[in-house]
Structures are given as structure tokens and as C-alpha cells.
């Protein structure tokens, strides 16, 4: 699974979607599609283009990776996922790719990034967002990860969020 994700990310061909139609399409759909029998036709009418043009462009954007996915964006907080924790790991440089892919393949991890170490107070180079219904569940999942990774990681920490102060989605 991890391999699929990383390959999909790296193979993105740089297609330019900054033309007028693409920009208007992004603007019209980034807040969600209309929940109606014909969502793409509704958008097309709004933009004064054909339904076919909307579907084709969205397909191209999806294939090029400009769109990550099309689907339901669940409100995890409302669904009871309230124990989100940012886990951070210190992994030797020569193992970080392998470990990153393994972690990314875990169901309960939504994001997994490699970032630079900062200093000896912040030695972590791998970040993984771990989700669960509560803290105990997240802690149990971290233990699961620890068991899986064994001595391939040097140290780790977990940072629970206590307050969301600002969260703005991608906006044109």
C-alpha cells in the first residue's frame, strides 16, 4: 500500500491547470459538489460550459494529481475521532523511506511526512498523524507502531492537539 501512495505522489506530471476554465472550475467545486441528481451538469450550467467539459477536466486533474481524490470528506471530529495525535519519530536516514512507507500503509494514519531534524532537542525526521476515538486508542496504536518498527527507530514522541485555533482549507 505504501508503495502505491509514494509512487502516485512522485509520478505526477506537471500539467498546468492555471487556465481560466480550470481556475473557475476549482473555485466552483472546492467547497463541494451540489447534492443533486446531476452535480456536474449543475456546475457546467453555472460556468456556461458543457457537462462533458467539466467531467473531462476533473478527470484530467485527478489523473495528474492536481486532485487527490473525489469523494466524501468526513468530519472526523463529528464522527467521534477526537483523539488525534501527531506522532514524531527519529529514524536513521537510510531507513526512513522504508519506515515511512510502512507507517503510511497503516489504516489509522492519515498523513505521513519526512521533515528535517532540527537539533538535539528536536531529532525527529518522520511525522505521522494518528487517528482514534480517544487518547487511549491513539496511545494503543502508537504502541502497535512501536512494536512494528522495533529498533529501526531511535526515539519518538506524541503531540496531542488541545485546541484548533485556525483551520482554513485550500482556497483559490
Amino acid at each position: 500500500m505504501g508503495n502505491i501512495f509514494i509512487d502516485a505522489f512522485r509520478q505526477q506530471t506537471p500539467i498546468d491547470f492555471s487556465d481560466e476554465f480550470s481556475r473557475r472550475l476549482i473555485k466552483a467545486t472546492q467547497g463541494g459538489l451540489p447534492v443533486s441528481p446531476t452535480p456536474y451538469a449543475d456546475i457546467a450550467r453555472q460556468l456556461g460550459v458543457s457537462t462533458e467539459a467539466v467531467i473531462t477536466r476533473l478527470t484530467q486533474m485527478l489523473e495528474a494529481g492536481a486532485i487527490r481524490r473525489i469523494g466524501a470528506v468526513p468530519n472526523h471530529y463529528a464522527l467521534g475521532y477526537r483523539g488525534n495525535g501527531m506522532s514524531v519519530w527519529d529514524v536513521p536516514d537510510d531507513a526512513v523511506d522504508e519506515v515511512g512507507r510502512e507507517i503510511a500503509a497503516l489504516d489509522f494514519v492519515s498523513h505521513c511526512y519526512q521533515r528535517p531534524r532540527f537539533d538535539d532537542k528536536w531529532p525527529y525526521n518522520l511525522f505521522a498523524m494518528v487517528h482514534g476515538h480517544n487518547r487511549d486508542e491513539v496511545m494503543a496504536r502508537i504502541e502497535e507502531m512501536q512494536a512494528m518498527l522495533g529498533d529501526r527507530v531511535c526515539s519518538h514522541d506524541i503531540l496531542f492537539s488541545t485546541k484548533i485555533l485556525k483551520k482554513t482549507g485550500f482556497r483559490l
Binding site: L33, R68, A72, I103, C112
Partner: protein, 157 residues
């Protein structure tokens, strides 16, 4: 089961709509009809159920998740803020238009935020400004590689 759980009641259909359709939403003229056929129900039921999920805020939206433009730059940054200044510094950081996520976390580095701007230079400027104004230790941790970015994840109810 934990006492601090706040799990909502979901019908089987609601669960499947939330769980099975985070990706691969049909790019066809009647996508909800296609989903209805897959789930063995009718289009109207699907639409009504989705409307209900939106109303109850179980679903933020249904549609494309765009990747931020490749042009431009972003980074994850953190500040170690003394507890008694946290509220002031947090508000100061949130006020920057370039800051689009800002979280309080339990750690010595207790304020975590994402900065997005047109260029690295602009990010550097914002970070220097925040460092100068807050007088706090700052971590700048730009992404070096991504193994998995928000492709949806399964729900275990």
C-alpha cells in the same frame, strides 16, 4: 468502550456512504445513481441520506480534494511559548493570512502552524517576523517527502 467517546449513531447506509466513497466518486453524469446501484438502493434515498449527513455535519463536503498548487511554498513551524503568553501569541500567529492551520499541542513546542506563501523568501519573512514578535524558539520543518497525504481513511465504527 470509553466514557469520553462521542460516537454518533450511523445507519448501515450512512456508514457505507462515509466509508466507501471517500475516493472514486463516479465521474459520470448521474453519480448518485451509480452509487445507488452499487449499494442496492435508489438515487433518491442516496441523495436524502447524504443531505442528512451534511445537515448533521457528519460530512464536511462531497467533492474534489485539491492538492495545493505546486507553485508556491509551505512549511510546518512550531513555537515554544511560555504558558502565560500562549493565548496572545496564538492569536498573533493566526492573524497572518499566510498561516492556514494553527494548533495548540501538549509539548514544549506547544504551537504548531502551517505557513503557505508564493515563495520561500516570503515564508522566511513571515517566520522571522513571528520569531521577532513572539521572542520564542521556533522550529521550521518543511516537508522533504510525503508517503501518504489525505487519501481518505477508513472509519471503524
Amino acid at each position: 468502550m470509553h466514557t469520553n467517546d462521542k460516537r454518533p449513531e450511523l445507519s448501515r447506509l450512512e456508514y457505507r456512504l462515509l466509508n466507501d466513497f471517500q475516493r472514486d466518486f463516479p465521474l459520470t453524469s448521474r453519480p448518485f445513481l451509480a452509487i445507488a446501484e452499487e449499494l442496492g438502493t435508489d438515487e433518491e434515498t442516496i441523495l436524502k441520506t447524504l443531505e442528512g449527513l451534511v445537515e448533521r455535519k457528519m460530512i464536511s463536503r462531497l467533492g474534489p480534494v485539491f492538492r495545493p498548487r505546486r507553485l508556491g511554498a509551505s512549511t510546518l513551524a512550531a513555537l515554544a511559548v511560555p504558558e502565560d503568553q500562549l493565548e496572545t501569541v496564538a492569536a498573533m500567529v493566526s492573524a497572518y493570512p499566510a498561516v492556514n492551520h494553527n494548533y495548540e499541542r501538549e509539548h514544549l513546542f506547544n504551537l504548531w502552524f502551517v505557513v503557505t506563501a508564493a515563495s520561500e523568501e516570503e515564508i522566511e519573512k513571515v517566520l522571522n517576523d513571528i520569531r521577532d514578535r513572539s521572542r520564542c524558539r521556533l522550529l521550521n520543518l518543511p516537508m522533504e517527502d510525503a508517503y501518504h497525504i489525505d487519501l481518505g481513511f477508513p472509519l471503524w465504527c
